[in-house]
Amino acid sequence: MSGPAPWLAILALAAAQALLFAAVGANRVLEWVQTACASAGLPYNTVMVLAGSGLLGVSSAVIGSYAVLRRRSLIGDAVAHAAPPGIALAYLIARERNFFLLLLGALVSGVLGAAVIAWLRQSTRTRQDAAIGLVLSVFFGLGIVLTSAVQRDPTGAHAGLEGFLLGKTAGLVSQDLLLIAVTSANILILVWLFQKEFLLLSFDPGFAAVQRWPVQALDVLMMTLLVAATVIGLPAVGVVLMAAMLIIPGVAARFWTDRLSRLLPLAGAFGLASAGAGTYFSSVSEGMPTGPVIVLTAAAVCLFSMFAAPRRGIAAGILKRIRMRERVARQNLLRTMYELAEEAPDSAASLEEVAARRGWRAAEALRLLRRAERRGELRRTPDGRWALTEHGLQKALEVVRAHRLWELYLVEQASIAADHVDRDADELEHILPPEMVLQLESRLRSEGRWPEDRVPASVHPIESAAGEAR
């Protein structure tokens, strides 16, 4: 698998773009876009800003999702925070606001920061979190010092370097936006091309190595894309908040899906929406920085996902617990009704008897009894007592059978004393899968111990549970 195919593909992609821009030039490309906008009746500036920030939102969300899944979310953060010294130095060297050079400076300094983190960890046994914290703050501090120096300089005051701190899409010209858009598009194309390879690398790099995939080269490629997305995001979102663009959409999307193939587009959509909202609000309201609005929008999406997503969300978890509790209560009621009927076949049970047997408060018992009546499992006798209906009896039989089979199993197989069994069986019977009940049943049958009525006798004397906590 070490063949030249991937590197040829990347080279071809880069060469095609280089040729296009060399042949026609960036300004001609922008002119085309301008003409296209004019003929379609769209505002050119808005289109450019949305294309740049939108593509940035999608690409950083997608490549950031991999970082989240590989537990490397903070690398993007470290790279972003390590960028300012490079940006300021690039300005001091060029003495003009050359966007490409500024980003190059950010890139060099960001990668240097990441390299220092790796070096600290390997050579000095500083732990990863400490190394990240250290490098991140030192580089950031240095960046602020250098940026202030630039701004004291009369020419530097107009460089707009402070826009890199919190992000300012309004300060970007069309050429800047074009660079952002093209880089983002490249990231997306490469992620799409390397889908299968990146999946394998992220899930099981050891297995990938045994299949002869060049794991280190793929890792470097993925890191390069992450760093590229981080760097082009700096002018729009800012050094301080760029990590959020990488991390939040992937975290939010994870709540909704269990498949990477769906997670990536979903994260991209969240990134797009956040970037769009940030750009819009900072353009309509004077002085509003882009980065914070983007991050707050993304955070709102994430919070909503965290709460409302089916299965993985908090609401789903609460709902599941409530349903489980209801199911347990319902099954306990059916079993209690069955046991009471077993003891006194001719008389229906009173509310007090049911409540005392289960240790329920009367109000709680009444609520459950009424609910069972609505389901048609119980009926009220003329004298105000409660009895199982035919339908309820069938349901109760199932529950009691599972309970007693499980009790038998615990006593005979797990050697648990009979007087401890009721409670253990209580805990588990409600989640016993039907296959297991069948398995237990067939064991008793093969041993010739399966009773006619299909309900084995209880292993312990049934007594009032009023004293019990249950």
Partner: protein
């Protein structure tokens, strides 16, 4: 893509050469040697157990042979050629704990990864690959779980998914790192059945194993390891009380366990 196919054709067993040969292999973690001068030649078509106490370097032996951890010295040959050139003949079952089971992939996705090697760069798995992967899932009786997310499986089922993925590699030589660790009885039987099927198809399987109780029943060849190879060979020759004592040293509880196991066999 062509390159992948060529590589596959290129990798081929050399007649008469053993499936795995390790010469003078030494492995060190941060300059501290964990494996010394390993010399092994393993026979074809056998189930081979690598057994030894904790920290003996059992997993490291497999990983170093595969090149996943660097070798300080020594060479490893598979069917007569350096292992690096023969990786397409190899199937691998890593330790279950080596991956994040909450990763957003389905059971079928994971098994399909076994086919990635033959797909080569950029090509997506097609219908044929999906069918092959489903066949492998059927062999481990997990066909009904194909669409599940992997965290929804029990430990034993996860282990079987890894086994199915290795089967999808259609290899001649398999390395398995503790496939029997922490699995239920049903899974243990299922795995054993597959190992025996592989053997009857002439495949060679090297298994890191932890239970002295079962090693004699499951395997026909044994490597006793404790930083160096204490003994290796056909199990009836190597599985002796003396060898086990030499392997496990003074670790009493384990030694007792070993003695028990030997005793049971000699009755």
């Amino acid at each position: 893509m062509k390159a992948a196919q060529e590589e596959r054709r290129e990798a081929a067993p050399v007649a008469e050469a053993p499936p795995l040969e390790i010469h003078d292999m030494t492995v060190a973690y941060q300059r501290r040697p964990v494996l010394w001068d390993i010399d092994l030649e393993l026979p074809e078509g056998r189930l081979i157990a690598v057994v030894g106490p904790n920290g003996a370097g059992k997993s490291t032996l497999i990983k170093a042979a595969l090149g996943l951890v660097p070798r300080a010295s020594g060479r490893v040959e598979v069917y007569g050629k350096p292992i690096e050139k023969q990786l397409s003949l190899i199937g691998y079952v890593p330790q279950r704990e080596s991956v994040d089971w909450d990763f957003p992939v389905s059971v079928l996705d994971v098994v399909m990864m076994g086919r990635y090697g033959r797909l080569g760069w950029f090509r997506r798995p097609g219908r044929e690959d999906r069918e092959a992967a489903m066949d492998c899932l059927r062999k481990v009786a997990l066909q009904d779980f194909a669409g599940r997310q992997i965290s929804q499986l029990s430990g034993g089922q996860q282990q079987r998914v890894f086994l199915a993925r290795a089967l999808a590699q259609e290899a001649l030589l398999y390395f398995m790192d503790e496939p029997f660790a922490g699995v239920d009885a049903a899974t243990e039987q299922a795995i054993l059945g597959i190992l025996q099927e592989l053997r009857s198809n002439g495949r060679t399987v090297v298994v890191v194993h932890h239970s002295l109780q079962t090693v004699r029943d499951y395997f026909d060849h044994l490597v006793l390891l404790n930083m160096h190879v204490v003994a290796h060979g056909p199990i009836e020759e190597v599985f002796t009380e003396e060898n086990l004592r030499n392997t496990y040293g003074g670790r009493l509880p384990l030694l007792e366990q070993a003695a028990d196991a030997v005793q049971r066999r000699s009755v």
